[in-house]
């Protein structure tokens, strides 16, 4: 797999974005075609990856201080690229009937391009540039097409992430400079960088981890998340929860673990504790929510805690399970946000108390919501179970108490998700209920959701191929 083949993966949506911007009323068609093409191309790349032709170290001359344009790809990168492309296509289909301007469709393609860049970058500087570029389209998606509080939420989202990014940048600069003074070579190549030992290493680790932690988000840096997810348009929430949160965990896996193999293992008590707090705190916050979108947003905090539990454990099953959980959460929570979006399109409310007894009026909506909720809480046979189980298994071997905390979190997940489902779909409608406005899903929506549901079932019943794809690139990180 050459650099060019990988460049095409992010350049395709970027150019598609420009085309969509100029495309006028054909923008949504361009967006659909490009996002599907990117997905197909991403899947096709599996072939070259299987045959082991992974991008060799690039020989291109850098511009300064060893900064190079260099991409690479392994199972983890590729599967996250699939997730990005798939959810982008899903977002386009989901918002197909909306009367949005060309900028909306272009913004999703630009977002896709920047996200692909993050997952493919091999050069730390390039990684940072893509990392920051993600903010611009997302800022506009929230701010232009969001809900009532969109202006505030867009600013909050950008400022919080930028705050973390400053530390990430300073940490990277420190890392590269110290490496240069140690070995006399300027390099930003993630494969060649090694974190320093001692106090300097700890400080660099802390700075970079802060940058990633805002994105995950790790409690107490999560406060941007509920606002951004709630105020974004439905498709924006899908991308936020489905892919943007994964960037943080990906940063830990791809950057921090290889750079600081010893230090990150020594910090297990701290990192594990933070992950445990995420699981419990997110679940309790979700329980207290009266707004469906906010509830799912807090459930994301809890779910990202499971991913962290897995990857922090540094056991093979934990690493693979945590990574698989990234994909699972992308699909299930993405679907939940899509469903809430469909519901909102009909009733124009998001409150748990605004609906009731929808099962009779909208059986398909009820079916898909129930199915996805079960996948989200980790019902065996569906995708969430595999990832959570493996993550907890890894943690049980590394630090059993935290695994117990995680199991408690699984129970709590049922305790917030099922009552919410019950209130909206099964319970009696309260006064002022808008259930009468809700009609069932149409063919387009149903088709999209069938694909999502099929994926949840497929990963839940037969996760083997995905696990085999993820395993080779993660086993090296195991302790």
């Amino acid at each position: 797999m050459t650099q060019g083949a990988l460049t095409a993966l992010w350049l395709l949506p970027a150019l598609g974005g420009l085309a969509a911007l100029a495309g006028g009323r054909f923008s949504r068609w361009i967006a659909l075609a490009v996002s599907l093409a990117a997905l197909a191309y991403g899947v096709w790349l599996l072939g070259p990856l299987r045959t082991g032709v992974v991008a060799a170290a690039p020989q291109s001359p850098g511009w300064a201080f060893g900064i190079r344009y260099a991409l690479f790809c392994d199972g983890l990168s590729l599967s996250l690229c699939w997730l990005t492309a798939f959810l982008t296509a899903a977002c386009v289909v989901a918002s197909w009937k909306k009367d949005y301007s060309a900028g909306y469709w272009a913004a999703f393609l630009f977002l896709e391009a920047a996200l692909m860049g993050v997952f493919l970058a091999r050069d730390l500087f390039l990684f940072f540039v893509f990392w920051e570029s993600v903010l611009i389209p997302m800022f506009f998606i929230i701010g232009l097409w969001g809900m009532e509080g969109r202006r505030h939420a867009a600013m909050k989202f950008f400022l919080f992430t930028f705050f973390g990014s400053i530390f990430l940048l300073i940490g990277s600069v420190a890392l590269v400079t110290l490496q240069h003074s140690a070995i006399g070579v300027w390099t930003w190549d993630l494969a060649q960088l090694k974190g320093p030992e001692g106090r300097a290493g700890l400080m660099i680790f802390a700075a970079m981890a802060l940058g990633f932690a805002v994105k995950v988000p790790i409690v107490p840096l999560h406060t941007w998340l509920p606002d951004a997810h709630t105020e974004a348009p439905a498709a924006g929430s899908v991308m936020l929860a489905g892919v943007l949160l994964k960037m943080g965990v990906y940063g830990f896996l791809r950057v921090l673990w290889p750079l600081f193999p010893r230090l990150s293992w020594q910090l297990l008590p701290l990192l594990g504790l933070l992950a445990g707090i995420n699981v419990i705190y997110g679940a309790f916050c979700a329980m207290a929510q009266k707004d469906l979108k906010r509830l799912i947003a807090y459930s994301s905090v809890a779910h990202m805690g499971f991913c962290l539990l897995g990857i922090v454990s540094r056991k093979p099953e934990g690493l693979v399970g945590g990574s698989l959980q990234l994909l699972n959460h992308g699909i299930t929570t993405g679907t939940l946000f899509l469903l809430v979006g469909f519901l909102y399109d009909r009733g124009h409310r998001r409150g748990l108390g605004d609906y009731g007894d929808l099962a009779g009026r909208a059986p398909w909506l009820t079916f898909f919501f129930g199915f996805t909720t079960l996948a989200s809480v980790g019902l065996p046979g569906l995708n969430g179970f595999v990832g959570e189980f493996m993550s907890l298994l890894g943690m049980a071997r590394a630090w059993p108490i935290m695994a117990v905390v995680g199991v408690a979190g699984v129970t709590l997940a049922a305790a917030y998700a099922l009552p919410a489902f019950q209130a909206v779909f099964l319970g009696a409608p309260g006064p002022g209920s808008v259930s009468a406005l809700v009609y069932d899903l149409d063919a387009r929506e149903k088709g999209l959701l069938w694909v999502m549901a099929a994926l949840m079932l497929a990963i839940g019943l037969y996760p083997g191929p995905l696990l085999r794809l993820l395993e080779p690139c993660l086993l090296g990180l195991a302790q």
Binding site: V129, R150, M155, F162, I170, A174, T177
Partner: protein
């Protein structure tokens, strides 16, 4: 006169072209038959010739009794001259005086760039500043005269402080060359001269004149002040820094004043309603980043690559800030309230401003990011860890108003004061060019390398 080598005249060639141009402009203006349009083009031609002549100046360090030339000086001269092009093109002078004043100011900046002597530096400083006071006075705004007087007194104070410092320095060192002077008198002299440089740069706490002047000036003039004049002031400061004894003694003070300037400018800009005033405070904040770059440069023993970061920052800033002021001219917008909902009414225009604002904020992949990154990098290498962190927080604060302006344009409905006027078409093209340049320069920072090999010293 053979004692003064040909190198002396070589270095003054661009300034000579400007002087000839200024005389030609004045002579043409004296004749009734020549229109101000011709005068304008004469002035532009003089700047173009000066730019060409600048290319012929050999890129090496030359030290003469009065003059010196080095890479930073030549590079920044290109910045001054380029900054004057949109100003000369867009100004609508009633007579020949304003173009001649701009050329005069450019001569002063050029002299700062090549001066190797404190007296020469002073001459350059005065020659640069006096036309600037008059240009402010001739702006259209009702506060122009008041601002001009304020500018004049602040500038006069700076000159007086500088002269006092120079006198102390002369007493301690017995000469006016740019070299350290011994003893407390030498240190006091340097401190006074540095304070004068802070005045010119608009560094906190000597910034008080700057927002008034930028607000009262015509936008294209404010753009010139914020790019050309600011670059000259940075160079002025950079010339003084090596005079510290022991070397690098100024660094801690410089770094902390830089942080103060960054944070103050960023915080105060948050509350501004007038856009020129907002950009003025933003320019104060950016001046702080440049001071940090100067401090890092000094800390690293005035090594060439560190100066490259400073040069890149100024070049990027030329497009970002110059472009923003030119956009104000093009769009005819003066206050934040007029920005509300602008993206719906004029999508193209709003997009140009949004790009410029993102560049000023330092978001990748723009030149603003590359510039900030290089400064952070040099500051880290110089070991200025805490100032670096605080500068990063300053960048975060500044995001509050840059993004806030984008939010106003894009996420809000049109307010009670929609924009009526639209500026001249050429201003639009200049703003568009600046926006394009601030993206291209960020994507391909080595473009700068092509202009003058080794200028940046970036290649490892």
């Amino acid at each position: 006169m053979n004692g003064i080598s040909s190198a002396f005249w070589d270095l003054l060639r661009p300034q000579a072209a400007l002087a000839v141009g200024a005389l030609a402009v004045l002579a043409a203006g004296a004749s009734r038959r020549v229109s101000t349009r011709v005068v304008k083009w004469l002035a532009l031609a003089a700047v173009a010739v000066a730019l060409l002549l600048l290319m012929t100046v050999r890129l090496q360090v030359v030290c003469l009794p009065l003059l010196r030339s080095d890479l930073l000086g030549s590079g920044l001269q290109a910045v001054f001259l380029s900054a004057a092009i949109p100003l000369l093109y867009l100004m609508e002078p009633a007579d020949e005086i304003p173009p001649a004043l701009v050329l005069g100011s450019l001569i002063g900046m050029g002299l700062i760039a090549v001066s190797g002597n404190l007296l020469m530096l002073f001459i350059g400083l005065e020659l640069m500043s006096v036309p600037a006071y008059l240009l402010v006075a001739r702006s259209r705004s009702p506060q122009a005269l008041e601002a001009s007087v304020k500018y004049f007194f602040a500038g006069g104070t700076a000159s007086a402080i500088y002269l006092m410092g120079m006198a102390l320095h002369f007493r301690a060192a017995g000469s006016l060359v740019l070299a350290p002077a011994p003893g407390p008198a030498g240190a006091a002299g340097l401190a006074l001269m540095a304070a004068a440089a802070f005045f010119k740069l608009g560094a906190v706490p000597m910034h008080f004149w700057l927002p008034d002047v930028y607000e009262a000036s015509d936008p294209e003039l404010a753009g010139f002040f914020s790019t050309g004049l600011k670059a000259a002031a940075v160079l002025f400061l950079a010339r003084l820094v090596p005079m510290a004894a022991p070397a690098g003694a100024l660094v801690p003070a410089l770094a902390w004043f830089a942080v103060l300037t960054i944070l103050f400018g960023a915080v105060v800009a948050l509350r501004q309603q007038n856009l020129q005033r907002l950009l003025a405070y933003s320019s104060i904040s950016h001046a702080g980043f440049m001071m940090l770059a100067v401090a890092a440069w000094a800390k690293q023993g005035l090594a060439a690559p560190a100066a490259g970061a400073l040069f890149f920052y100024l070049a990027a800033y030329l497009f970002m800030s110059g472009g923003a002021f030119l956009w104000l001219k093009a769009a005819g917008v003066r206050t934040r309230a007029e920005l509300l909902g602008l993206a719906k009414a004029r999508p193209g225009s709003a997009a140009v401003f949004a790009v410029l604002l993102l560049a000023l904020a330092g978001i990748p992949p723009t030149a603003g990011f590359a510039a900030k990154f290089l400064v952070f990098w040099e500051a880290f290498k110089a070991g200025l860890y805490v100032p670096l962190l605080l500068a990063g927080l300053g960048a975060l604060v500044s995001l509050g108003y840059y993004l806030g302006l984008i939010r106003d344009m894009y996420f809000d409905e049109a307010g009670p004061e929609p924009v009526k006027a639209v500026g001249p078409a050429p201003a639009r093209w200049f703003a568009l060019g600046c926006a394009a340049a601030s993206v291209l320069l960020g994507l391909t920072p080595w473009l700068m390398d092509w202009f003058r090999p080794g200028m940046l010293g970036l290649r490892p």
